[in-house]
Symmetry: C2
Subunit: 569 residues, 2 copies
Amino acid sequence: MPTVLPDSDNADGGSIYMSVDSSNSYAYLCGEDLDVEVRVRRVSLSNQSGDLSGEYIDLYDTAGGIAEGDHGVRQLRQHWIWDRDDVAEITAEATGSRSKGAAQPIVRCVAKDGAFPTQLFYARSGVVTKEMQYIALREGVSAEVVRDEVAAGRAVIPSNINHPEVEPMIIGSRFLVKVNANIGNSSVKADVSSEIAKMQTAVRFGADTVMDLSTGQDIKGTREAIIRNSPVPVGTVPIYETLQRVGGSAQDLSWAAFKEVMIDQALSGVDYMTIHAGLLLAYVPLTAARVTGIVSRGGSIMATWSLAHHRENFLYENFEELCDIARRYDVTLSLGDGLRPGSIADANDEAQLSELRTLGELVKVARDRYVQVMVEGPGHVPINKIEENVQLERLWCDDAPFYTLGPITTDFAPGYDHITSAIGAALIATHGTAMLCYVTPKEHLGLPNAQDVKAGMIAYKIAAHAADVAKGHPKALEWDLELSKARFEFRWEDQFNLALDPEVARRYHDETLPAPAAKTAHFCSMCGPKFCSMSLSQKLRNDQEFKEGMNEKSKEFQRLGGSIYVRER
Amino acid sequence: MPTVLPDSDNADGGSIYMSVDSSNSYAYLCGEDLDVEVRVRRVSLSNQSGDLSGEYIDLYDTAGGIAEGDHGVRQLRQHWIWDRDDVAEITAEATGSRSKGAAQPIVRCVAKDGAFPTQLFYARSGVVTKEMQYIALREGVSAEVVRDEVAAGRAVIPSNINHPEVEPMIIGSRFLVKVNANIGNSSVKADVSSEIAKMQTAVRFGADTVMDLSTGQDIKGTREAIIRNSPVPVGTVPIYETLQRVGGSAQDLSWAAFKEVMIDQALSGVDYMTIHAGLLLAYVPLTAARVTGIVSRGGSIMATWSLAHHRENFLYENFEELCDIARRYDVTLSLGDGLRPGSIADANDEAQLSELRTLGELVKVARDRYVQVMVEGPGHVPINKIEENVQLERLWCDDAPFYTLGPITTDFAPGYDHITSAIGAALIATHGTAMLCYVTPKEHLGLPNAQDVKAGMIAYKIAAHAADVAKGHPKALEWDLELSKARFEFRWEDQFNLALDPEVARRYHDETLPAPAAKTAHFCSMCGPKFCSMSLSQKLRNDQEFKEGMNEKSKEFQRLGGSIYVRER
């Protein structure tokens, strides 16, 4: 009995969720440590008559308990965190983090005095944490590789001690390329339940992290609801909530106000925070001649504050203290690129690159304080200028994981920026970007709905996977190979089940050939039975005469030195 | 009054056609030769209060007379062709090409004895044809550049003397990257009017050529209807109709049967033909160990014939005669890659590359006979193996225009192969591919409908344009720049009108902010008024204090040597 999960906010009438049945289900992989169970999507394969063959392939899955539609997210990390004995309980009331209408103060935790509860600290101390074990199983590598990469700062594991629901994942160029989905409300459109639905849509389609970029009503309540339901790390940009708290005027921002928000968000379990600390006052004039000025929200807010006060960016000035706060909760810092280009005309300009160099300086400060750190990148970049971004980031930021927004490779297609940017994303990830922030079709035009979230996720899972394939990742190659074999052997059900989006693959096929018999037919409606090349090619291969002919010709080919025929005239 | 063109076969309820109004209309550019009028899409720009400013930008347009919805296609080339005095009338009846139910034999033309009515012949003779003048205006280059590139064989102008309706276009890496849309029926689904509708949808969204790949009922009638209504060159794969004529069995094919079909199609006006002449018998065994064998329809047909008879490919054996037929009508040859990979596992293998080398040999044969020729390429290729395809094609095929199908960069996403392949297409075009054959979302699953044609076209116009931008094409950069400026200045109407798909851009914006006032508002629903970075950035720029601050900081920056700040601790 297939279980089709409930649908939400679906514009085109088809189901936007994957169906779960006997040949497309979930399983848990266990390592030596029985405490570590990694959830995977298991696709059972069939033979050419359409019966299950007993073979299967396990695929990386991000949906947590959400996809089954029953138990919800697990608090997988709860006792891992406590067992390390480096954190202490506090009641959130003390810091003002009590939820509206909550009967009890919420219990949250913070580092014990002198303790460093970060994955970076443990990695450098030679300790393989449970999180690292989980990731090793999930990525198909040894736990030692995970520890090494984290210790070197080439990878991060965003996992706040107050977000026990996270299924650990890693961001680093030696691992599978990750995808982040931005969600969150705006003052024009705000509704907590639709944000939860967007988060769930995102993780069902493979979001490795989500960022809550809410700027509208009840930022805090929306974030808390997302975190408590999210099996993936949640990121935020704390300056947004800070701006709201000070009444919406950038001039009124202060380090004190920011710090309060940062602690509050850390206590609620935010796994990583975008910090625009590299946008120095001196760089702002460099944007004056730009076609599109400053297009990062955080960047324009900080630039406004700096200019209004003629003072250096307070996030830069207080960066050490900021790191110390992050360390207490193992919040990973994501150094924001406030001066990223907003059009291809502005790509790789002095403003952008100056900030990137400062981010490299901040990477060192964070690492010295045992704080996990990654670096954000553009934005809008034409294909010919993409590689340079990765090269400079690796050089200036000492191989810190690079996390880019697209980039969009042309500005002429609003409404389709999931595609203009999937091109850039695939390319930048092939060159070494570790995580891609998706762009939805609504970019530049409006707030995405759940259907837009799906469209963005699909485009970005494609970009990330195409990069994994290009980088030769064995898991990515295996997935493509299994699908191609199913295709050549006309195992249609396997083709659908192995697809990134099984429901859509099946629906498109069934539009013209809905009969059950078509699921084992040696053709589809694209070419029909007589013109199916794969069918002809299969027949050729099975034909005895062909086999003999092949042998003969093969020998002839070898005799000629294995080179190509030379035509005689 | 906006004229919204009639909709057809539209799955999601929105209009799939562009609306035409006072700020988004059509115009004709004239050169010195008043006989040469180039149709463009003219976007009139507005000022910041929303009134027309008198400025405009002209965009390359492929829709011919179809988009106005009134006069239909023009017979633009009719007297250009006759004025050259190198062709003679024949009645098509003589070759069996009379349409069913036609009251009169159709008058068609053929080269006069000893005359070479090809663009290549004229280019080499130093003659700039009307077609070349048209193209020079259209591409914004001198006519001499057009002639040079054609003469060298680095570009082709597919323009059969029996297709006077064609608005001339050029395929070559020095020009704008072109996109082909495959249409055509199959035995499972066949209907002439829906094929016409697909062609019209394709050209409205920018298809530079269409290929009629029909394999179902009434191949001839479908083709004739498409050609007579098409303002863009039409390509075919004549082996399909040949196979149908001999009853569907590849063994029964022959050079005689093929030749008859080729002449028939040339008389009906087919501008370019895919010929699988490079698939030699010796290469077939090289496919035996492949994951997906032979996936080109034409390739699998020719391989079957070759193996069945143990004889060399008859298209290869008779290639000189084939060229002589093509020359009589100025049919451009497109050398098919019958052994292109059907999965990334098979990319750049010995089978594929052996055939490519043979295609290089055939390029020389065609050029020696004044026949325009291009070379087809893959297919399914991971990102890391794409560049090699272009390098080898240029080397082995002496810079003949390369025309690739995608390539698809990962096999795991059936239902989304317009995206998996737009990534590869953008990349391969950046490296020098001259024309991209689109892939629709239905690839591998079924026959595309008009909505799929639109989705494929949009993805490929993006890929082609992203490559033009990367190559620094001035027209492409200008388009992106104008849109970016409109975006930064909140000229929403200009942003919509300049968009690749104005209707979708407008609809997405209006989903959350439909009020007319929102069209001049300094924000959209994505961020709302307080968090709009562009709005903040604009305010900054207009602010007197900011300007002074910028000057001061700018001087300070210069004083420090124009380098970045060094942090003092």
